[in-house]
């Protein structure tokens, strides 16, 4: 009789090289956003940005089983999803810097980074905007006879948009291969879940659309990976959509205009003790996937990638002013 495997889901499911790569990408998300924030402070980036620092496990663990044929839709807080799906930080920085080498040739900026060819259908500046689009991508997969799934990231704020309800209903009626992942970080800008949302858990809304709904600790890599694993398997098997709610927290403000008047320093500090990257790193070390030195090396490699990305962006050319109306329509 074999012993039950009591190790965390991720450890017993993914190969060590996959786990190391996941940790690397989580560090890369963190360092990318810190690098972006620093560049903003130095005046190298204009506009605004929405940082997901503190939410890295949700992005990375949700993308563990995706290929380039699988799709994601993302949000205004989408840098982590991009990197988890495989984006190059150099081209992301270039987009932030408004350069021609950016993912959107400098036309989109932080809120529109996408790479359709590798299945990243894009961040979105409209809360809830990506939800129906994700359902459409899943419809394409089904009609075209592909086994692709679509992961639809959205925040707690989007769960009160009509688009959320219409999208979940249609995905369920048509049994489409889509996984709705709500990153519940507690606040839609400044308005808390308690003040905005009639259900205790957003996953409770799944009942209304006849799909499984589960709430997990979004800062626990394995918990997220396990929930999404089952949802992806269900989608690929043609059994329809699922809703996964990852409870998490953004350490930074909503955007660069946030004066942090709606939450306490204590609350932020308490959540910072639940750092998803530190937890995942400790888990990997505890189960012998890594030692401290190799974990440090992974983190250093992420920092090096980030720094190289910024240099690439700085050195890249800006778009030509005469191209201001280019890309409005297809070019013949």
């Amino acid at each position: 009789m074999t012993q039950p495997d009591n190790r965390p889901f991720a450890i017993r499911t993914y190969a060590p090289n996959q786990l190391r790569e996941a940790l690397k990408r989580m560090y890369l998300i963190r360092r990318f956003e810190e690098g972006a924030e620093d560049s903003y402070m130095r005046g190298l980036i204009h506009g605004t940005m929405h940082l997901s620092i503190g939410q890295e496990a949700s992005a990375m663990a949700s993308c563990m089983e995706l290929t380039d044929d699988d799709k994601i839709t993302s949000t205004h807080r989408g840098h982590g999803h991009c990197i988890a799906k495989g984006a190059e930080v150099g081209r992301m920085f270039a987009e932030f810097f408004g350069k021609e080498t950016g993912y959107c040739h400098g036309r989109g900026g932080s809120m529109h980074i996408a790479d359709v060819k590798t299945g990243n259908l894009g961040a979105n500046g409209i809360v809830g905007g990506g939800l129906p689009i994700a359902v459409g991508a899943a419809l394409s997969a089904k009609r075209l006879g592909k086994s692709d799934v679509t992961i639809c990231f959205f925040g707690d704020g989007a769960n009160n948009e009509g688009a959320f309800h219409e999208a979940l209903n249609m995905a369920s009626v048509w049994k489409l291969p889509v996984v709705f992942i709500c990153e519940n970080n507690g606040y839609g800008m400044s308005t808390s879940i308690a003040r905005s949302t009639s259900v205790k858990h957003i996953a409770d809304r799944a009942v209304a659309y006849s799909m499984p709904g589960v709430t997990v600790d979004g800062n626990d890599f394995s918990a997220v990976a396990e929930a999404v694993h089952h949802a992806v398997a269900r989608a690929r098997a043609g059994e329809g959509p699922s809703l996964v709610e990852n409870l998490t927290y953004r350490w930074r403000g909503h955007s660069k205009s946030d004066r942090n008047r709606y939450r306490t320093k204590e609350e932020i500090e308490e959540w910072m003790t639940r750092d998803p990257i530190a937890r995942f790193r400790a888990e990997l070390i505890a189960h012998g996937v890594l030692d401290e030195a190799s974990a440090d090396a992974i983190e250093a490699a992420a920092i090096a990638d980030m720094e190289a990305g910024i240099e690439f962006a700085k050195a890249s050319p800006a778009p030509s002013i005469s191209d201001v109306t280019r890309y409005v329509y297809a070019e013949n």
């Binding site: 839709t73 939800l131 459409g136 991508a137 899943a138 249609m170």
Partner: protein, 342 residues
């Protein structure tokens, strides 16, 4: 030959005729036969056949996987069409009434229209929205509007207004061949109009207006049902020796500047007739475009706009008729303009 039919001059009597709605349906069937990625989506377009019976029996021919009844979810439904278009399908999404597109403005304007640009040319959204539009059916303020000009304000969209069965088919096929989102405003009163429709596949060029009637005294630009009213008014004017040139606008975005400017240079007078509310409408754009051009120097009278009253579309049939340009009002306005009594 009545004023509702196309190209009065040189057509043999034995040409095949179809109604406007039959022509649209034929275009959809041709596209679906030729391309398995073309699907239809909309409310009650399956077994019901569509609120105006445009899809009619297509569900019998192509099945429910390709002729999809959506829930009454305009925002979500339009968004699903956008997402499907982004990932390999070519959806034709029918809004039951063009008025209902307001529920989907987010997906049309913020998503479909902007995705190619926001993504630096790295995405394509080949979706076609079909929108039954216009007044004259007694359906009152929320089912009778002409909001095509709203979408003329949105870079990234193409906005078409077929006036004839031939164009209704050719524009839909052209829209499907176009890699960008296209909105086709179909006039409800035209669905039963018959006219010659060529067999097989052909594309009506997007962005080209057409001189439907040549004249020398005044240019009347009109689209959709207003074309037919303008043509009828022009026939009446001709009896009194006033020769109106009537241009079928066909396309609001992109708008065909050259055809209009060339006509204004010839006639020296311009009237724009449209069913949308007069203020901030198609007429404003065309008037300004002429005023900004060299054709301004050829004008020998003020430009005249005829649009809908500054009110919602009323229910009472006399009020409804009075709220939008009719043959009589077009005729009277053209007489004033050619006598310079404006």
């Amino acid at each position: 030959m009545n004023a509702m039919t196309d190209k009065p001059s040189s057509q043999p009597q034995n040409l095949r005729t179809l109604s406007y709605s039959e022509a649209i349906r034929e275009a959809m069937a041709i596209a679906m036969e030729a391309d398995p990625t073309v699907i239809l989506m909309g409310e009650d377009i399956g077994v019901y056949g569509g609120a105006f019976q445009v899809t009619l029996d297509l569900v019998d021919r192509f099945g429910t996987d390709r002729v999809m009844d959506t829930p009454i979810s305009e925002l979500g439904g339009a968004g699903v069409a956008v997402g499907a278009a982004l990932t390999g399908l070519k959806p034709i999404f029918e809004f039951q009434f063009s008025d209902f597109a307001m529920l989907a403005m987010e997906q049309i304007v913020n998503q479909a229209a902007k995705l190619r640009y926001m993504l630096g040319g790295e995405a394509s959204v080949p979706v076609v929205f079909r929108l039954p539009a216009g007044s004259g059916t007694g359906a009152a303020a929320q089912h009778s509007q002409s909001i095509e000009a709203w979408f003329g304000h949105v870079p990234g969209l193409k906005v078409l207004q077929p006036a004839t069965p031939e164009d209704a088919k050719g524009m839909l096929l052209a829209a499907l061949a176009d890699p960008d989102p296209v909105m086709i405003f179909e006039h409800k009163l035209l669905y039963k109009m018959k006219g010659h429709v060529p067999e097989g596949s052909y594309l009506t060029p997007i962005g080209k207006a057409l001189v439907r009637r040549e004249g020398t005294d005044v240019t009347i630009v009109a689209g959709s049902i207003m074309l037919h009213r303008a043509l009828e008014a022009a026939e009446r004017l001709a009896k009194d020796g006033i020769n109106a040139e009537v241009i079928d606008l066909r396309c609001i975005r992109p708008i065909d500047h050259e055809t209009i400017l060339a006509s204004v240079r010839k006639t020296g007078k311009l009237m724009v007739v449209y069913e949308g509310v007069k203020a901030f409408g198609v007429g404003a754009e065309i008037s300004a475009m002429v005023a900004e051009s060299d054709a301004f120097d050829f004008l020998d009278a003020p430009i005249l706009r005829l649009g809908a009253a500054d009110a919602p579309v009323p229910y009472n049939p006399d009020l409804e008729r009075a709220s939008v340009p009719q043959v009589d009002t077009i005729e009277a306005a053209a007489r004033r303009l050619t006598r310079r009594e404006v």
